[in-house]
Symmetry: C2
Subunit: 405 residues, 2 copies
């Protein structure tokens, strides 16, 4: 008898008919004799509707009260899911995050799980129930309701799987698993049977939108093996786990194109110590997330100066420009140039560590496609390049063909 944690997102529980589908799937696993904990999100649309109501009351509602408000979304789903199991004559009981023993810090709307005391979950499982737990929410040790922020339901599932020492953790979503690249861009994209935590993290930060990084980081930290799979079919998904020896046989696991980045270049920045620190501290203080940073070598005669480029998420470009413009007189660069028409193309794979020539092959492939490389950034298992947005999709297809066929 295995203990399985299954997580279903908002689309999978979007209406009563879909909730019944979830119950049918749970029933199949249970018929095999397994104990099952189900983690559910709010029905799709419900959270947005609650946010709309709050904004009608005031533009910037208190985060404590937003948590009180939004946590009702998942609470609604757990009750309906338990009922759907009852309709199949399966004993089931729902638990809020607080009731399931999910204790968090007090940072409302983006709380961190501190520990889980799953006695109630165990007791209900032992009594023969499927246990339905509200995702995305917890309670402080003082009894305040909190929510975990974006991707919070995945985090609930993975943390519960760790606390319960589950045999299997399944993240049901509206895609079949993790692909070598976006199948909408590249028809030859293949679903991966397995991927390492680190590869998954690099793909997540490269624009692949399967899961939030924090859930994967949590799984890596606690060694929770999980499977990403679809709630719409019976296909096996992708297993995410610690890197194994044979994973290195594959040089490149996946290719990702991020169209959501913008580039800022500061031209002729005085080349003196502390300048870069000043710039990126100011951006951090404005809570702007900087992704790639590239500084070119000094050039020209006279005062030594350099060009400095960095990328930010497109929606934050305006804010970044304001921060940079505010520093102009202090730092004395010549001008700041923003470019929204860029794409970040990344290749990810633990095999890079033991295979040489990967970067060269990527650059050569791009050159053959007539794609100019604007910025380059590498990590141990990732190579990212910034290129012209208009050539992004063709470049993705070419690089995928070169490494993954």
């Amino acid at each position: 008898m295995a203990l399985i944690v299954q997580k279903y997102g908002g689309t999978s529980v979007g209406d009563p008919a879909r909730i019944k589908n979830v119950a049918n799937r749970v029933a199949k696993y249970r018929a095999q004799g397994d104990q099952i904990v189900v983690v559910v999100s709010a029905m799709s649309g419900v959270t947005d509707n609650l946010i709309r109501l709050a904004k009608e009351i005031m533009p910037l509602p208190s985060e404590r009260e937003m948590d009180m408000l939004l946590s009702t979304g998942e609470q609604t789903t757990i009750a309906l899911t338990a009922m759907a199991l009852h309709a199949l004559n399966i004993p089931a009981a729902s638990l809020t995050g607080a009731q399931a023993g999910i204790v968090t810090d007090g940072v409302h709307t983006k709380a961190k799980i501190q520990n889980i005391t799953p006695q109630k979950v165990h007791a209900l499982l032992d009594a023969g129930n499927v246990v339905i737990v509200a995702g995305f929410q917890g309670e402080t040790s003082e009894g305040q309701i909190t929510t975990l922020g974006r991707g919070g339901s995945d985090l609930t599932a993975i943390a519960l799987a760790a606390a319960l020492k589950a045999d299997l953790c399944q993240i049901y979503t509206d895609v079949d698993g993790v692909y070598t690249t976006d199948p909408r861009l590249v028809p030859t994209a293949r679903k991966l049977a397995e991927i390492s935590y680190d590869e998954m993290l690099e793909l997540a930060s490269s624009g692949a939108k399967v899961m939030q990084s924090r859930s994967v980081e949590f799984a890596k930290k606690f060694g929770v093996v999980f499977e990403v799979r679809s709630s719409l079919n019976e296909n096996p998904g992708t297993i995410v786990k610690e890197e194994t020896k044979n994973m290195e046989d594959v040089v490149i696991r996946g290719v990702a194109l991020d169209k959501n980045q913008a580039k800022v270049t500061l031209v002729a920045v005085p080349d003196r110590p502390g300048v870069a620190a000043r710039i990126f501290k100011a951006l951090a203080e404005a809570t702007i997330n900087v992704d790639m940073i590239v500084q070119n070598v000094s050039h020209g005669s006279g005062t030594p100066s350099t060009d400095l480029s960095f990328t930010v998420d497109k929606p934050e470009l305006l804010k970044a420009r304001q921060v940079i413009d505010g520093l102009k007189s202090e730092i004395g660069f010549r001008e700041a140039i923003a470019d929204e028409k860029i794409g970040k193309l990344s290749i990810v794979g633990v095999g890079m560590k033991s295979h040489s020539g990967v970067a060269a092959k990527m650059f050569e492939t791009l050159a053959k496609e007539g794609v100019n490389i604007d910025m380059i950034s590498t990590s141990e298992i990732k190579i990212s390049v910034v290129i012209d947005l208009a050539k992004g999709e063709a470049a993705t297809r070419a690089v995928h063909a070169a490494f993954l066929g």
Copy 2:
């Protein structure tokens, strides 16, 4: 500095604009330096919508899960109400029933409050907050979410007022207070400045729909004085409190017409011991609530027999008929006659105890109107008669005019 508990029903918090109105009203009281606890219901329509969702999943959902589901309605309102106060720069914090320390028994969907441990409410009040508590809900000592059934939010307010030793408890509703009779039927109906718990209870059981009896009973038991008033205007409402000497100067406090009753008459019931017990035990076992019971004297020659009449709520008439028909061969009455076209007219007043001739005056008034009396039932402070439904409204006007002008 007074401590005031205010309760607002579903219509008063029906949309964001109305929730803002509630906040404005609370702000006015707070500006006078009072501490305020606000109890709110679910926004009107929300509970029905949740019930509809549940019924789409299964026709008879588990009561535990219904409580999990329905308690989200009030939780949504408390968060929005706290935000509306924040928008007026008033410190406010919301609490679920469980967080407010409302401990109930485990009878889901109609739990009884067992005790209240209001430490959190006190702490938040002492820190300068308006405290918003979710009505209608509580938690068992094992941490299960429960709801209190119909009229539950009134009960929450009155129980909290008792536990907090509040100076004032205000029940805001969509009527101005308690009237001498239904103003839609009788234009000369007047709002009462005060009424005793017992009169309020007799009026509630006579078809006046201001409040559920259990809330009034709870208030009587714990001596909570409360005011019923409108959330739509500034008019003073009706104070409900223990009977005082001067209340007896008024013979009749109010007149109520209940059009929701039906009558069943068993003709020629054998007049032997135990027959009535058998009948009403069977009805009770079928959870049919019987209101008036009248047994006429035996008549006729031969075997002694009697006619037995009782009234039930109209929606339960069919079920009552089935129970009665099932007893026919065992008991041996001649026939059962059902009559849905009846009205129950009641006059209520503690003054009856010290004034004679009240019943005679009522019957005389009805006779003058040509209204035939079908059944009569009296208590210490109430006289009820069953009459032809078609004459109900005219009879109400005549009796109101005779006693209350």
